[in-house]
């Protein structure tokens, strides 16, 4: 690495005498700099161009996934949909970048931000969080799960709002009493948490068990459901 100056190739770094530069640090003698981030005017233009690009992708069928990041009582959620339906609900703790990369690998990399395709899901989630909705009426795209896990996940909505069952209960209900561990995995890998209520399944000893959104989220969902159930009865 030392003194191989004989190479005709120039260093890749931008020289410091640049009058302006996109990536290199601002230098004292530079009369102009752009900085890496867009200027306000550029941001406006880019926002407009990005909208047109998204529409182009949507209209030409060149979009694999549309997603939106929304606020919720459990922190920010990423909602993603395909042409088929809602394909992923992700908690911030999962890391949205990683979630998108996984979607890119499993569904397709032509991923766009667009709130429209997930607006119905968002609406129902808001109703759910407000205690006004007990089950979801959404078209789901279940391609991110395996057949057995899918079977478990399809069973979960039959657990009533505000109620909990054990992993064993679910295994028995599916006629696979020994598949408790697999049921646990199916719940832990549920790509559509909240909407598919894996939070209503607990360990057989009554402990919470795991949750993709964290135990605090699981606890919060269950106590909110109990509270809203009680409220409705009273």
């Amino acid at each position: 690495m030392t003194n191989t100056v004989s190479s005709p190739r120039v260093p890749d770094t931008a020289p410091t005498e640049a009058p302006f530069t996109a990536d290199a640090p601002f230098t004292a003698d530079a009369p102009f700099t752009f900085g890496h981030a867009p200027l306000p005017e550029e941001a406006d233009v880019l926002a407009r161009l990005s909208v047109a690009l998204r529409e182009h992708a949507r209209d030409t069928g060149a979009r694999d996934v549309a997603y939106s990041v929304v606020d919720s009582p459990l922190g920010r959620l990423l909602l993603a949909a395909t042409e088929v339906g809602l394909v992923r609900v992700a908690f911030e703790r999962e890391g949205f970048d990683g979630v998108l990369e996984h979607l890119a690998e499993r569904v397709g990399a032509r991923i766009f931000r667009d709130a429209d395709p997930v607006s119905h899901a968002l609406h129902e989630l808001n109703e759910y969080f407000a205690g006004e909705r007990r089950s979801f009426d959404l078209t789901l795209d279940r391609r991110l799960t395996t057949p057995f896990r899918g079977e478990v996940q399809r069973y979960l909505p039959s657990i009533e709002y505000g109620q909990t069952v054990s992993y064993r209960d679910v295994a028995e209900a599916l006629g696979r009493p020994r598949a408790m561990r697999a049921v646990g995995t199916a719940c832990a890998t549920n790509p559509l948490p909240i909407v598919v209520p894996c939070h209503r399944v607990l360990r057989t000893d009554g402990q919470l068990g795991g949750y993709i959104g964290g135990l605090e989220a699981k606890r919060a969902l269950l106590s909110a459901e109990r509270r809203h159930s009680a409220g409705h009865r009273g």
Partner: protein, 184 residues
């Protein structure tokens, strides 16, 4: 195998640079915006291959530069120069005058210098790539770059009236991911 890059992430990460490249060639003008759109539409059409590329930025920058040059050729044939081109539309606010000056100065450079300045200084491509793109030797590309910068510096220094240099803009990114603080 490298991870697949979500398309929107590429737009977030490189959209600004691509716009600057298009404007360096075509000025702050709707033609530059059209070149931006065509560049990303081309990327979308090839995203299956590009998503795993190590150098999406290089691809976007060179394609944007080529598309912008093509538009410029058409313009030159039609006798439309940047000076005669319609005013930049200002529906969403005027660009900073400083940068209008800068783009004008870049547009006034001889083509070789303009390409070297645009690709190397503005878009951060190494001179080896600039040379390949321009069909010249790396040494010639480097020379064109430093000549271009010297010309720009002279042109811009004359125009700067205020003793204080224009502001350094360190505005946070607008992409949600930059706002998330998740991306680098």
């Amino acid at each position: 195998m490298s991870a697949l890059l979500p398309f929107e992430t590429a737009v977030d990460q490189h959209g600004t640079t691509v716009l600057r490249v298009c404007r360096a060639v075509l000025g702050v003008h709707t033609d530059a915006e059209d070149a931006w759109s065509e560049t990303f539409a081309a990327a979308l059409a090839e995203w299956e291959n590009l998503a795993s590329s190590e150098n999406v930025r290089g691809w976007l920058v060179t394609v944007a530069h080529r598309k912008a040059i093509d538009v410029l050729r058409v313009r030159t044939k039609q006798g439309t120069t940047l000076e005669h081109a319609p005013e930049p539309h200002s529906r969403l606010g005027l660009p900073q005058t400083d940068h209008l000056d800068l783009y004008r100065a870049i547009a006034a450079l001889p083509p070789g210098q303009r390409s070297a300045v645009t690709l190397h200084y503005l878009a951060g491509l190494p001179y080896a790539d600039v040379a390949r793109e321009s069909g010249i030797s790396p040494a010639a590309a480097r020379r064109a770059g430093s000549d271009g910068v010297r010309t720009l510096r002279a042109a811009l220094t004359v125009n700067v009236s205020s003793p204080t240099t224009p502001t350094v803009v360190t505005q946070p990114g607008t992409g949600t991911h930059q706002a998330d603080g998740v991306s680098a």
